[in-house]
Symmetry: C3
Subunit: 260 residues, 3 copies
């Protein structure tokens, strides 16, 4: 039938801290394709720093909505694997998420969403104390992509763990105070400050006052900030590396001055 | 016809030491898709350390069986490329393997298996002294995925090179002595010791006695061991890096003490 | 219809300096698959050094022709993003290229080729000062893969920027003088010297005279050169790393001595 065929060719994305040198990611893909040969597997990233659940939450938030509705996103940065932490399937914003309950889904949950605990071992590859990415999350997502109904996997989930870092800003009449939440491969430091239409000409980081410009090459070789393509203030050095030059780190305070 | 269509959409996995920065992996994929546009190419890894054939053999062993039967696995860590070393297609355990004859297939060969030498230049992209991954192995695998019969590629192969490291353990009444065979991205050190149902409470590595626990987060911040999801004893530090903290290296001796 | 179906399952390759740890590459893939769910996305590499446009031009040149004709190649190493630099679609040698006009297409342009400026914002995800890889190049390529005619995207492009490094050699009766243009993950240094049938027995790099051999393992543990599988002279150390041992760098002069 047409509809089930469409369903079974669903996109399944992967986001982990497994890196690419080991067999882990290949094993997950093998498990998925053994269950649903028509799944379209797309890597978001496997280079999250080991156990950096907050980074993973941010990257997932930045990525999922570019995929078609109905996509299934597996997110496994899972330091507590094997413990009593819950495993979840969540439907939110038209997308499905399959992940441990450790905050990794913080920024993709939007009311009304629906969440179940992954409990039905019938859909596991095996019980697994050390690698549920392969043994629990991958097969669950693969069966979900084949059209198994979400309630088949377990009972409704409550009290999902969430971080609030991305929303942790202080707004006053003349400024927004936030912090660096992510540093990318170019050494650009992304903050949690979203001007949302407000005009900002300058920011302050570590006693430095930086101008806010429109695009990178507009301000060569010296530190500056832009409103990036996702709406966040981002600190950069064009043709340089802001993280290294300014010793930037996650959680450092940033002040954005609103225009008079 | 239905069956040949199914055949031509076969999975082809890639395992190399080519890394991802250079054109090598993309070239292999281009060659495969030019021959069989319906091939489903899946990366196992390209981050094997340069020329580390034993690591590649271990990762292939850990990975291939998670893929559907009939999958074709290209494994190219090939320091002797251009020399007289043989090139192989092997059918073993329902899977196909396309690789140089240098030990990389050590742990996937299981009697009865069938092996041929890759000799038929009709299926090569070109003769190639420096990059047979692209010029010999990729096109051979692609033609194999299109249904070309295995004997078309060459004559039966004998005396395939094998490592025995993974089986090199000493078992006595009170312990199993083995060694570290692989270290993963988390710094976890995987040994070649498989308890296979026997109860093990402690192991010894470099004069340290470590407890064997059930899952990582059960034993935070201090070194310990688990039976990992593939059945091997694995040394770890939860939320830490055992390799760095304990200076672990491949080939170091590990003793596992059997319970009374 | 069969032909449009074939068209919409076109290969789209990606070549960037975005690396794999951040959301950038996943976002591009999401954008492409949202427009054309049947696109077959293949990574060439995302590990070009940040802003190394010349490296990207070389890797693209080495890679594209292994893919089937009609493939679409997105190449985004784009330090000037947001400035007035043009964005291009080029049809050359039966392939399509989607890239900024900064020299990255230098070595794939071959007369007669056809180029247009990407101007039609109807096919953009959004206007974007900082990430046109996702917001301009990915959606343009995806629409192109769906059969949108090349002239729909903008007006013909003139004065495309090109590097000439790859052709910058001096040939005399007894030698060819060129330079190192690329260093691969094994530490092999690839030069821009193509013997093209001429016999070369020795090369000179940094006062060292090296023999030219037929394949790597023929000359173990000491520096030597081969004609590599793309026809360029390449300096290597078998089971070693020539870049590190000889302190090789891009742009260093290499002399190849023609046989008497």
């Amino acid at each position: 039938m047409k509809s089930s065929e469409a369903l079974s060719s669903k996109i399944i994305t992967l986001l982990t801290d497994f890196a690419l040198k080991d067999p882990f990611v290949g094993q997950m893909k093998g498990v998925i394709l053994s269950i649903n040969p028509h799944a379209k597997i797309v890597d978001i990233t496997h280079e999250i720093e080991p156990q950096a659940v907050e980074d993973a939450a941010f990257v997932l938030y930045e990525s999922f909505h570019y995929f078609p509705e109905g996509s299934i996103h597996i997110a496994v940065v899972d330091p507590e694997v094997g413990s009593q932490r819950k495993a979840l399937i969540v439907k939110s914003q038209g997308h499905y998420f399959v992940a441990p309950d450790n905050g990794i889904l913080s920024y993709v949950l939007k009311e009304p969403f629906y969440a179940v605990c992954i409990e039905n071992e019938r859909y596991f590859l095996r019980k697994s104390p050390t690698f549920q990415g392969r043994d629990v999350f991958a097969p669950t997502a693969a069966w979900l992509s084949k059209g198994i109904e979400i309630n088949e996997f377990g009972s409704p989930a409550k009290d999902i763990k969430v971080f609030k870092t991305l929303y942790d800003t202080e707004k006053s009449d003349d400024k927004i105070v936030g912090k660096i939440v992510y540093i990318d491969r170019f050494g650009n430091a992304i903050t949690n400050i979203k001007p949302e239409g407000k005009k900002i000409r300058q920011i302050k980081i570590k006693e430095l006052i930086l101008p806010v410009v429109s695009f990178y090459s507009q301000y060569p070789h010296k530190p500056a900030a832009v409103i990036n393509s996702d709406g966040f203030i981002e600190i950069f050095i064009y043709m340089g590396n802001a993280k290294e030059t300014l010793n930037l780190e996650k959680k450092q305070t940033v002040e954005a001055f609103l225009d008079g």
